[in-house]
Amino acid sequence: MRAAVELFGGRAYDGVSVDDLVSHLGVHRNSLYKTFGSKRGLYLIALRRHLADDVRPLLDALGGAPDAEAALRLVTAADLRLLLLATVERAPVDEEVASEVTAALAAVDRAIADALGVPADLAAALTATALGILLRGNTDNVATALTRHLDPLP
């Protein structure tokens, strides 16, 4: 299933063919259909696996974040490729994906809010910033520059 997480996290949903899944997962096409029902069925399981394997540990790590900069660094250092792609690409067209993505991002918000003792909306802003930094690709300087200009958090 990690192979499916890697595949779906590495390129667009439509860019992953059943041929790709069959060869990377090492299963027969028939058993892929029998087990997962469809490419979408497999995708949902891969997404949940990603949330358990990659997002869950991030939540635990965020629990120990001492300040906003540390929280931003933890999020930008995590492997969130499938979550980001799912958010941008599949959530708008797939309600089940949307609800998984929404719940995962809300959990990140909560972890930040609890660790830093900040209101939920500020925590959500920090999550949004971290995801934005991930998309931009510059994970070092922007987080420092931003947090330097933030009011000291309580």
């Binding site: 059943v18 029998k34 469809s38 490419k39």
Partner: protein, 116 residues
């Protein structure tokens, strides 16, 4: 070529033209509850299909009819592999249908929306 539509709580597959000669009386109605999913899969046509009976299989030209593979019955009607979709079923005569549709992306969206 197959036409796929949703009729209430059913998925209806209608075979067009000559395909109905070797297909199930021209159409098949399946409760949506027995539809596990649908996938556009142009690559499936190059896979081994199992043993045909009855139907028509001219390799490289047309695959149509009932095939038996790994203890499952699979219905095929594909001429143009690039337009193949796979509909996975449960508790039906066929384990899955491999059909040629006009617009695979639209067919997948239609069935997934009905299943949601």
């Amino acid at each position: 070529m197959a036409l796929i539509r949703i009729d209430g709580d059913d998925l209806v597959v209608v075979m067009e033209g000559f395909d109905k000669l070797w297909a199930f009386k021209g159409s098949l109605t399946i409760p949506l509850a027995n539809v596990r999913g649908v996938t556009a899969d142009p690559g499936i046509a190059t896979d081994p299909k199992g043993i045909r009976a009855p139907g028509s299989h001219v390799p490289g030209v047309i695959t149509a009819g009932t095939f038996h593979q790994d203890g499952e019955k699979v219905f095929w009607d594909v001429r143009d592999a690039s337009k193949a979709v796979v509909i996975e079923l449960a508790d039906e005569r066929y384990a899955r249908l491999v059909l040629q549709v006009d617009d695979p992306r639209a067919a997948v969206a239609l069935v997934e929306k009905a299943l949601a």
